[in-house]
């Protein structure tokens, strides 16, 4: 572990709420509004942390553990994710499975905490979340498997260090297919349009929002911050692929990757303002489509 290796987690921890701010601002500008300040997500988290939590008498320790375990899982993921050419804080062979299943842990505890409240709405959201995740997870793993196969390593840092400009030149760029698949996973996992609408507050249509209805105060701050970090970490998977700047100079690589992250945030904002949330029955189709992209990329790298 060197000094350079704290760069990637540090960027994730400090800059991730800003990513939410950029998405919000992009949507506001597209709609002709001024929008909230870019630093609003930081203020939201600070405000929520100052409040006291209220717990229903029907809930148990599971409900209280949910946000804490969730935040711990994403913070663990920040240690594993490289930022473009900047290596991760810790890496070992096979860490991509740990990475994928830290999100599994996060989801499991979010779902269990939602079920613990005994509210029928939260149960509905939990059921949807799990149904979509069951398809999104293999897509993510297949896409990572394709990158791993290309580079010949199953450690995220080595995988992303091996992605360079040559991935875009020879034959058909499988990176384009992978980026397409990962963008769908990114939108689905972070509950963005067209899978879920983060701004909706109508219980019948929500997925992620409805699961966290009963959390308040510091718990909600943990969930909000954890969601922002998750957005950053999954975004880093895409940016590492589509911004192949591997100059060897860590400052330059890091700056290019961070610029790529905010580019991705603007693109997310544009996607959100140009399309509506899809009907629930069509969302699995979108995810299966992403699965086809990653399977195609995998067979292209296998041949």
């Amino acid at each position: 572990m060197t000094e350079a290796s704290i760069g990637s987690p540090l960027a994730a921890l400090c800059l991730s709420p800003l990513l939410l701010g950029v998405i919000g601002r992009t949507k506001a500008i597209m709609a002709g509004r001024t929008g909230a300040p870019l630093l609003q997500p930081y203020r939201d988290v600070a405000k929520l942390l100052r409040k006291a939590a209220v717990y229903s008498r029907t809930t148990t320790w599971v409900f209280r553990a949910g946000p804490v375990v969730g935040l711990a899982a994403v913070l663990g993921a920040t240690a594993l994710i490289p930022l473009g050419g900047v290596p991760a804080a810790c890496s070992f062979e096979g860490d991509l499975f740990l990475f994928a299943y830290l999100f599994g842990l996060l989801r499991f505890f979010a779902v269990v905490a939602a079920l613990d409240t005994g509210s029928s709405f939260e149960g509905m959201g939990a059921s949807r979340e799990v149904a979509f995740a069951a398809i999104a997870e293999p897509v993510l793993l297949l896409a990572l498997a394709a990158v791993a196969r290309q580079v010949g390593s199953v450690s995220l840092t080595t995988m992303y260090a091996g992605v360079d400009a040559s991935a875009w030149s020879g034959g058909f760029p499988t990176s384009a297919l992978l980026a397409g698949a990962l963008v769908v996973v990114f939108l689905a996992e972070n509950a963005r349009v067209p899978v879920d609408d983060p701004t909706t507050h109508l219980e019948l249509t929500m997925i992620h929002e409805v699961m966290v209805l009963d959390h308040g105060g510091p718990d909600l701050a943990f969930i909000l911050y954890g969601g922002a970090v998750k957005l950053w970490v999954l975004g880093a998977l895409i940016v590492g692929l589509i911004v192949p700047v591997r100059s060897g100079n860590l400052w330059l690589d890091g700056a290019a990757a961070i610029a790529g992250m905010f580019g991705l945030a603007v693109v997310t904002g544009l996607i959100e303002s140009s399309m509506a949330r899809w009907r629930l029955v069509r969302v699995p189709q979108l995810l299966v489509g992403a699965g086809v992209l990653s399977v195609l990329a995998l067979v292209l790298t296998l041949r």
């Binding site: 058909f172 399977v295 195609l296 041949r303």
Partner: protein, 213 residues
């Protein structure tokens, strides 16, 4: 020519998952454009008048004439989407994923007389053919079945364009003419089915029988 082949495979997958008939027609038209590009790309080192003419003919027929003809039929039939496919869209796409892997696996084991121009050609051709077959058996509207027939033919053409070097032009023209006549006749048939029965559900045609009065 690899990008064209990847796009061909992707449009086939999209066809498996889309219910709106106008969108399906557009996708099949795009496949026609891709085939024309493929024809040029397969003979990139010696572009002759023959190749250009063939590509132009494919573009005109598969990219423009068939879609136009079928959209006319669609307008007349007043059907907007496939009502209830025998296999759901999501399952179709999942089957497509399986078919994709299958065709790559199969093509690795297929001995060919000549070396194909690209390693992607054979798997993508097999996959497109499989998708065509699958769509023919799993969709109910007659129009969708015509589109599936076209997809099937696209797959066979892809196989031919890259594997068989220098197929006589007369053969290629003959096949194109056959397809043209087939689509034309099927278009007229759909029009008449629709006028007679007020629907184009091919499944219900099994109930037809002689008038025994």
């Amino acid at each position: 020519m690899d990008p064209a082949l990847v796009f061909l495979a992707l449009t086939s997958v999209l066809l498996l998952g889309s219910s709106r008939l106008t969108r399906c027609i557009r996708l099949v038209a795009f496949q026609g454009v891709l085939l024309a590009a493929l024809t040029i790309a397969a003979h990139a080192n010696e572009i002759t008048l023959r190749v250009v003419m063939l590509a132009a003919l494919i573009l005109a027929l598969k990219g423009a004439a068939f879609p136009w003809l079928l959209s006319r039929v669609l307008r007349g039939a007043e059907v907007r989407r496939e009502i209830e496919p025998m296999v759901s869209y999501m399952l179709s796409m999942a089957a497509g994923t399986f078919g994709l892997v299958l065709s790559f696996w199969l093509s690795a084991r297929l001995p060919l007389p000549t070396l194909p121009t690209s390693t992607l050609v054979v798997p993508v051709a097999l996959f497109t053919t499989l998708v065509g077959l699958f769509l023919i058996v799993s969709r109910r509207t007659a129009l969708m079945q015509v589109l599936a027939y076209l997809v099937l033919e696209n797959g066979i053409y892809t196989f031919g364009v890259a594997v068989v070097e220098g197929m006589p032009m007369i053969v290629e023209l003959g096949i194109l003419l056959d397809v043209f006549v087939a689509v034309f006749v099927m278009g007229i048939a759909i029009f008449h089915i629709n006028r007679e029965f007020d629907h184009i559900d091919a499944d219900q045609l099994t109930m037809l029988r002689d008038w025994t009065g």
